[in-house]
C-alpha cells in the first residue's frame, strides 16, 4: 500500500499536466471525428452538391451586392461633384438624395429596436409539427408588419433592407429575404420613435404573436434597445423592366 502511495507521489506534476492535456486531446479528436461523421456520409448522397451550389451562389450574391453598393457610392460621388454649379443642378441633386433615402438606398442610423428570433429549444411533442417550433417566414413578416404599425421608418432583416419590392420566401423552412438566403437566428432591426416597444404592446396582433409563437411553441423572441440602430442600404437591383414613369399631368 505504502509502495503504491509512494509511486503516486513520485509522479511529477508536468506528467499530470501532460496527462490531462492528452485526455482533453483525445476527447476533442473524438468530438471532431463525430462532428465530421454525418458530413462524410452526406457527401455520398445527392444532396451535398446542391448545398455546395446554394452556398456558392450565396457567396456570389454577396460579392455582387458589395459591387453594387460600391458602384452606387461612386455614382453618388460623381453626381455630387456637379453640385452647386447651377440652381437646377443643386435642386436635382437634393431631390436625388431625398429619393435615395426614401427608397432605402442609403444606410441609416437612429433610435430604434432590434429583435432576435430563434428556433424553439422545447422538445417537439410526439403529435406536434416540428415546423411550428422553428422560425418561419410568416414570423418574420409579422414582426416586420407590427414594427411598421408601431412607427418604424426603416427595417432590415439580417442586414437585408426591407423595401417596396421585398418579399419573404419560405422554402421548406429556409428563409429568403430579397432572395438572399438568411441563416438563423434572425435579427430584425428597426429605426423609429423611442416608444415603438410600448406601441407594440398595444397591438393585438403583436400580443397574439407573442402568446402563440413564444408562449405555445417556445420561439425565442428577445430584443435590445441600443442607443443607436444602424440599418444597411438596399443592395439589390432596382428592377424596372416593365415600368415606365408616368409624367405628372399638367395642371389645368
Amino acid at each position: 500500500m505504502t509502495a503504491i502511495t509512494a509511486r503516486i507521489r513520485a509522479i511529477q506534476s508536468w506528467q499530470v499536466t501532460l496527462g490531462f492535456a492528452l485526455l482533453a486531446l483525445g476527447f476533442l479528436v473524438a468530438a471532431q471525428l463525430a462532428a465530421e461523421g454525418p458530413r462524410v456520409r452526406y457527401t455520398t448522397q445527392e444532396r451535398s452538391p446542391l448545398v455546395e451550389t446554394a452556398l456558392g451562389l450565396q457567396t456570389q450574391q454577396d460579392q455582387l451586392k458589395t459591387q453594387i453598393l460600391e458602384l452606387r457610392k461612386q455614382i453618388k460621388a460623381l453626381e455630387d461633384q456637379g453640385q452647386g454649379t447651377t440652381t437646377q443642378q443643386r435642386e436635382a441633386n437634393a431631390n436625388l438624395e431625398g429619393a435615395r433615402i426614401a427608397a432605402g438606398l442609403i444606410p441609416l442610423t437612429g433610435t430604434g429596436i432590434v429583435f432576435r428570433l430563434a428556433d424553439s429549444s422545447q422538445p417537439v411533442p410526439a403529435n406536434g409539427n416540428p415546423a411550428d417550433y422553428a422560425v418561419t417566414a410568416r414570423d418574420i413578416r409579422t414582426v416586420v408588419a407590427e414594427l411598421w404599425l408601431a412607427g418604424a421608418e426603416a427595417i432590415a432583416v439580417n442586414g437585408e433592407r426591407v423595401t417596396a419590392t421585398t418579399g419573404v420566401l419560405d422554402i421548406g423552412g429556409t428563409i429568403l429575404v430579397n432572395s438572399a438566403y438568411l441563416a438563423p437566428p434572425y435579427q430584425i432591426s428597426a429605426i423609429g420613435p423611442t416608444d415603438m416597444l410600448a406601441q407594440l404592446g398595444l397591438s393585438q396582433g403583436w400580443v397574439d404573436f407573442i402568446e402563440t409563437r413564444r408562449g405555445r411553441f417556445g420561439i425565442d423572441v428577445s430584443f435590445a434597445e441600443p442607443p443607436t440602430v444602424d440599418i444597411a442600404a438596399f443592395s439589390g437591383s432596382l428592377n424596372l423592366r416593365e415600368s415606365r414613369a408616368v409624367p405628372p399631368s399638367p395642371a389645368p
Binding site: 482533453a24 458602384l71 443642378q89 427608397a103 442609403i106 417596396a164 432572395s179 423592366r241
Partner: protein, 228 residues
Amino acid sequence: MRASLRAPRSQLAVSLVAFILGILIVGQIRSQAGDSGLGERSAQDLTLLVANLNTRNDQLRTEVSSLERQLQSLELGGRNGTSSLNQIREDLARIRAWAGLDSVAGRGIQVTISGGIAGPALEDLINELRNAGAEAIAIEDVRVVAETVVGGTAGGLSVDDTALGDPFVVRAIGNPESLVGSLTRIGGIVAQLAATYPDAAVNVEAVDRVVLPATTRDLAPSHGKPRL
C-alpha cells in the same frame, strides 16, 4: 519537481500537445459555427433555393452592368465638361418610380377579389407578388410601399386608412406571364385562398397596361439619419 518541468523535453511535449489542442478547439468551434442550416433540407427544397439564388444573381449582374454604364457615362460627361443634369434627372426618375414616389405604368396583372378574405391572406398575396418579381403594386388606389400594412378583418379590410370595398382590385406591374403563372400554379396562393375562403372568388388576368398611383406617404425618415 520544478526542475523537471523546466526540462527541455517536457516543455516541448507540453507545448506540442497545447498546440494540437488549440488547433482542434478552433476546428471544433469553426465546424459548429459553419453549419449553414441547409444540411437537413430536402433535395427538392434545395433545388428551389438554387433556382431562386440563380435568378436573383442574374438580376444583380444586370444591375451591376447598368450601374457600370451609368458610371462610365458620368465620368465621360465630367471629362468633356458637359452637364450631367440630364443623367441626374434620369437617375432620379428611376429611383422615384421604384420607391413608389411617382406614378408608373406598364404591363402587368390585375387580381380581382370578391367575397372577403382576411388581412393576412391579402398580405400573403402581396408577398407572393413581390417574390414573383412584381416591380410595383397597388391595392385599389393605394400604392404599396415597404410600410404598407393591411388592417381590419375579412369583409372590412383597409390599407393605409383606405377602406376596401367588395370586390377590390390588386394591380401589379411586371412580366404578366410570370406573375400569372406564379399566382395560379398548383398549390399557389390562389389555390390556397380558394381552399381557405370557399366563399371568396379570386380572378387573375394579364393586362397590357396598368397605371399605378404614387404613394401619398411621406417616406422621408425623421428618426433615422443617413449614415456616412
